[in-house]
Amino acid sequence: MTEIFLWLSIAFYGAGFICHVLDQNGSRHTLQRVSTYMLILALIFHTIVLALRVMETGHAPIAGRFETLLFFSWSIAVLNTILLFRYRLRTTDTLTIPVIFLALLLAAFSDSGVYRLPLALKTWWFEIHVVTSFFAYALFTLAAAAGAFYLLKEKTGTGTELGIYQNITYRSILWGFTFFSSSMLLGAIWGYLAWGSYWLWESKSAASLLLWFYYVGVLHTRMLKRWRGKTVSVMAIVGFALVMFTYLGVSIFLKSTHGM
């Protein structure tokens, strides 16, 4: 059941994306509308997958690679929907939907077995800790997408257009930074309650620390005329690479007791 909805959602994201790309200059309204409907359907299926998973496991979809990939991509999709309905903005979809698509594809080929959560992870602190960190990752992804568009349109785009991208980058980094700081606090509280230490020196925590400092830096470029625009857009893209390192790289390439 979960699998069917997962593939349906992958298919609709794919189809919606193709329709969106075919209409890059926004002149073919029907195509754009079809794409919007498809993406909304994809998100509905995606949500069903998550809901089924939550019912099956009895906890938030945050344990193991299968669940986190589902949840990470879902956060981006929700964010895209907010952008669409509140701001009628779809350009960044061109970059964020492939991220969703790839994450879901990776999830489809990951181990989706249901495991009992160890006793130490059965707490709200842990669940909100992970959920907020994935919202942050999604917002940082959006910031990178906007940064990439800034660079792409730097020569051809109008000032207003560039202003929009720049604004998305700063605003979503500020939102992302808020979620990320909250996530680190929640993780610290959980660690303190679970094993008596609000901080552990291991690679996943260290990677979070570097990500936090990195975005402090990015936020403060707003005060520096010469860093705004091109440099901060590049920084947002590098930030996405660091996010991927923190989320996936640490557990794939390094030994970490975080065990996610």
């Binding site: 130490a120 707490t123 808020t178 606090l185 470029t221 520096l224 640490v250």
Partner: protein, 360 residues
Amino acid sequence: MKSIWKFFTSARLAVVLSLLITIDVLTGTILLSSSPKALGTIDLEIFFYWLFGTGLNNLTASWWIFLLLALLVLFVVNTIVCTVDSIVFMFRPRRDAARIKPRRILSQAIHLGFIIGLLGHLVSSASGFRTMDNRLFEGSSIPIPQSSELSLRLNKLDVAFTKNGDMLRMDAYLSLIRDKRVVKDKVVRLNEPLLYQGNAVYITHHGEAPESMKFELSGNGTQEIIKIKLHERSVTTNWGYTLKLENLIPDFARDSKGKAYSASKQFRNPALEVKVYKGEKFLVSGWFLLKYPNKTPLAFDGLKLVFPGLAYRPYAVLTINKDPGTVIILSGALIFIISLIGLLFIKGEEMELVKRQTLK
């Protein structure tokens, strides 16, 4: 002096420092997983004690932590100077009120929260204590480290597993005692420590240790259970018999010549020789082997004595820590995050995810 101040008010310095910290910690992330031997003990001690002990002796793996500290010092000075500068700027007399904007106030509150939080880290890195593997048996007490008056008693340990062997619960019913009076009762389980005046008590695992040797004396349709504590040599039963332990081999084994010896000091496979008396009168003696509980019963007065095994007593393994920095860190973090959230929601188009007017 003025030029030093000016140097530290620079936002460019803040950006450059945060990038340097990023690169340093990125290296650290890799070193943390590639040098488990050198860095693996870092969380077992108070941070500065570790850093200036083990850390100094393993500089090839720990250099980045020292560099991080140096960069952090610069960063904190940078933040303090910027914050002071900005607050002075906002509240200088005869300035127009427009300078005091919500955004500016909240940004400075964020900086203040960060500084307070870091101060808490400093306190927590240099004070308090961490102790692990404190064994506490059901019914007994241990003192809280570095406290002359507090002690901890385990009233009951309740552990349960599922059919597959997954742990369902591990509940330690603890009482914190001062001057023989209970000051706090708490069921400590995973994620639910006992917190009291900066002390924190956690349960990490549990176990049971042999406490006594158990015998069953039966006959005439009744039965008596007799226990001899591990460090005791004899016991007198309710029925008036005295059991004397003549020989005790905790971990019975035979060498190549067939001679008995103890393979270890643990009570894995005890063998014991018992003599039975009624008052002063010797009745009977014999060997008991744990592996053959019923094969060698001793018979006397129409009764039967068997040795079904050891009686165990459960214990909890506790971590007991004290960290006076946590309250300060929590206060700083809350100021930080509440101000950040405030920054997201203060009025004005600027606070939207995208500037709305630019979209039209």
